[in-house]
């Protein structure tokens, strides 16, 4: 029966205009085709039923045309090769490549023609102007001082590594040329110079309170299956160790070590550090991590995935599927969902590091916090991470006062908190 009906359907689709054909008809024809393919040969003069191409997953590709074109300056190519030979990390390598492309593009915009980087070293005024130009090459928005600082680092690195070539053409040290260029566009202040340009750097961000952290962790752990265990364990390690999210995300099974005491040590590779940092997990976290691994492996077996998580052996630990590491995007989405569920302002994963620093610094000396969280000194910790909440300060003062004297007799503000907060904020 089916075999006899198929030509009728095909004839109907041929008679109609292909552009105006009904989608429902096409789908029914396709399903019929699929079913009858084994029984009937293709008739001459009839086209195949149109089929929808498989949906392709979008992958991010940097817009190289917008930031200097695909063809790089030959000196930049050589510099990048040399930078790689000097053991630059991938992220640093990408950042310097981007900044050098941006430099040549800004110079081209200013001169209305293509400018090679060597020409910039001959024209120190132009080089200086490019280094403090704070208009984004693609978006046109104002760049931050942080981005401009990275641009200066990139050009200094370029001057250092390409010194033999530049010295031959310039006749003077390339790093000195960079200094001269910066002085030409800087303001003379006191005994030195001050650079202009760039929006002020935003130091730090919101710090969740301990209660908020606990609430978010509870919400994260409510997801059934291995997902709940993974979410709770991942963010609990972030909160307890102050690890960077990407360092923890890229944790490898071979970097996890079980000690005879039953505790687990993990080695996480923080950015900018040559040596991995050893972090000891508490018994609760160790048990949860092991439960997550067991649960994931059972789930993978049920889904017939070949992948397994094995502690002590190479392979991604934090997984969202059978493919690779849990992506940063998914981590942020997971955290955002938990924040929404608990009615807490949207947090980023780095907020856990700030919460760790702030919470620990309120009870132990800062140098101990720096050692525990993997900071190389207390300067960055002070300027970017420790953000005490004014309400905690007031609470502490109040507790101290209560401890020393009698409780307040003020009926309007029995604890005195509201008055203190108002006087500090206004």
């Amino acid at each position: 029966m089916i075999g006899t009906r198929r030509p009728e359907v095909l004839i109907a689709s041929r008679d109609d205009d292909a552009a105006n054909s009904n989608r429902g008809q096409r789908q029914s024809a396709k399903s019929l085709c699929d079913k009858t393919e084994a029984f009937q040969l293709k008739l001459p003069g009839y086209e195949d039923v149109p089929s929808r191409p498989p949906k392709r997953r979008h992958r991010y590709t940097p817009n190289t045309q917008a930031i200097g074109g695909s063809s790089l300056d030959p000196l930049i190519e050589i510099y990048l090769r040399r930078l790689r030979a000097h053991g630059a990390a991938k992220n640093g390598f990408d950042a310097y490549r981007y900044q050098l492309r941006a430099i040549t593009q800004i110079a081209a915009r200013r001169k209305d023609r293509a400018v090679l980087i060597e020409e910039l070293f001959h024209n120190t005024r132009l080089l200086g102007e490019v280094l403090v130009d704070d208009v984004a090459p693609v978006a046109g928005s104002q760049l931050s001082k942080w981005t401009l600082a990275q641009r200066r680092s990139a050009i200094r690195s370029f001057a250092t590594l390409m010194r033999p070539e530049l010295l031959a053409t310039l006749g003077e040290e390339p790093n000195m040329v960079v200094d001269q260029a910066l002085r030409k566009v800087a303001i003379r202040v006191g005994g030195g110079y001050r650079l202009t340009g760039g929006s002020p750097r935003y130091k730090g961000g919101d710090v969740p309170t301990p209660d908020e952290v606990q609430a978010v962790l509870r919400a994260l752990g409510e997801t059934p299956g291995y997902l709940g265990l993974r979410n709770w364990c991942f963010f609990s390690i972030l909160a307890a160790s102050g690890a960077r999210v990407n360092a923890l995300r890229e944790l490898d099974g071979a970097d996890c070590v079980e000690m005879p005491s039953g505790r687990m040590r993990i080695f996480i590779h923080d950015k900018g550090k040559h040596e991995p940092r050893e972090v000891e997990l508490s018994r609760e976290l160790t048990a949860t991590l092991q439960a997550y691994v067991a649960e994931f492996n059972a789930y993978a077996a049920r889904r017939a995935w070949k992948v397994r998580i094995r502690i002590g052996q190479p392979g991604a630990v934090w997984r969202n599927s059978g493919r690779g590491h849990w992506s940063y995007y998914d981590i942020r989405q997971t955290l955002a969902a938990a924040c929404k569920q608990t009615n807490i302002a949207l947090l980023r994963p780095h907020a856990f590091r700030r919460a760790f620093a702030t919470g620990a610094a309120s009870v132990v000396p800062r140098h101990v916090v720096a050692q525990a969280g993997g900071w190389q000194g207390v300067e960055r910790l002070d300027n970017h991470y420790i953000r005490p909440d004014i309400r905690n300060v007031v609470d502490k003062l109040h507790r101290r006062r209560q401890h020393e004297t009698m409780p307040s007799q003020n009926e309007e503000h029995p604890d005195g908190t509201a008055i203190l907060v108002r006087s500090i904020y206004h």
Binding site: L75, I78, A85, T160, P260, E278, G374
Partner: protein
């Protein structure tokens, strides 16, 4: 504007293949001259051997494919050497790159006058071809050479005193060929003395000494040569017990015996190799159910135990035979990090 790398003509040469084996006879003669001069200057034979090895590999890197693949290229063609130091064909670690650079400089200083070149001039020409970062000290040029500073081999976990005890006990279980006493003493010296692994395998009974204090207590010590100076290190109880057991097995006492302490097999004249000692440590780790660790981690754990006994950093340096206290800081850095983590974990909710 057609300025390219100074080294470009050689980068595109695909005929450059890494070869193995000795260099041509003439080059080997020059290397032998270099080796003899370095040893005559008092350099350690092992460091000289490493320099010669690096010179060989560098000569192969700068080899251009012509018949002139002599080691003298390192003197006559500084731009090739600079290229090999800046952009090695295979990734190297920073320490290897540094050793290569130092070896080339020494080779130039020794051999260049013999081939009629001014060594200072050649070294200067090489410096001009290398990247330089800004430097403020009079003693540094800021020369930059290639090489990665990241660690290739994974580090073991930080150990504590109970792990040291477990390792010494596991060494006995580990032995199957009648070397229980030897292996136990070997592990005990790794764990409970300031000796380094290469000093432990070379140790002789004559270097161990026993003395009595004014209160008639026995004290054990070992006297060795390290970095050209003679140092005496104390030996602590767990290691003394193991060494005495080994001495009894050899039918003698510490202070009276002579010869190699750790012998390979049953031949008393052949010392244990460094690799065999390392394998013994690894096997002990496996039996003690501890992740495999290197001798550095054992020394660090010993240093941490010394600190827990109330010794200052300088006193720990004396027990370990370290010249600089900064080395103690480096040894204890990971223990301090773990302690800080535990301290924070106790107070955080």
């Amino acid at each position: 504007m057609e300025q390219l790398s100074l080294f470009d003509p050689f980068i595109t040469d695909t005929s450059l293949m890494v070869r193995r084996g000795p260099l041509p006879e003439e080059s080997e003669c020059w290397l032998e001259t270099f080796r003899a001069a370095r040893v005559h200057d008092g350099a350690h034979p092992r460091s000289v051997a490493r320099e010669v090895s690096q010179l060989r590999s560098l000569t192969r890197e700068v080899w251009t494919g012509s018949n002139n693949d002599s080691v003298i290229l390192l003197i006559t063609e500084p731009h090739l050497v600079a290229h090999a130091l800046c952009e090695p064909r295979r990734p190297v670690s920073r320490s290897t790159a540094n050793t290569r650079f130092v070896a080339v400089q020494r080779f130039i200083q020794i051999v260049a006058p013999l081939v009629g070149r001014d060594s200072a001039h050649v070294v200067q020409a090489l410096d001009d071809l290398l990247p330089v970062r800004r430097s403020v000290g009079w003693h540094t040029l800021g020369t930059v050479i290639a090489g990665s500073r990241t660690r290739v081999r994974r580090r073991g976990p930080t150990l504590e005193v109970e792990h040291l005890h477990a390792l010494v006990d596991a060494a006995v279980e580990n032995s199957t060929r009648g070397h229980a006493a030897r292996d136990r003493a070997l592990i005990a010296l790794h764990c409970w003395s300031g000796l380094r692994p290469e000093e432990i395998v070379r140790l002789r009974w004559e270097e161990l000494s026993v003395g009595r204090t004014s209160t008639n207590e026995l004290r054990y010590a070992v006297t060795i040569r390290r970095a050209g100076r003679e140092i005496t290190l104390p030996i602590l109880n767990p290691a003394i017990d193991a060494l005495e057991t080994l001495a009894l097995e050899r039918s003698g006492w510490i202070g009276l015996l002579a010869g190699t302490v750790f012998c390979a097999g049953y031949r008393l004249d052949r010392p244990l190799s460094y690799r065999a000692a390392r394998d013994t440590v690894r096997l002990a780790c496996r039996h003690a159910k501890i992740p495999i660790v290197e001798a550095d981690e054992l020394r660090a754990a010993f240093a941490y135990w010394l600190k827990s006994q109330g010794l200052s950093d300088h006193e720990v340096a004396i027990v370990l035979g370290l010249r600089m206290v900064r080395s103690v800081d480096r040894l204890l850095a990971r223990h301090r990090q773990l302690n800080a983590q535990r301290r924070v974990r106790e107070v955080l909710p």
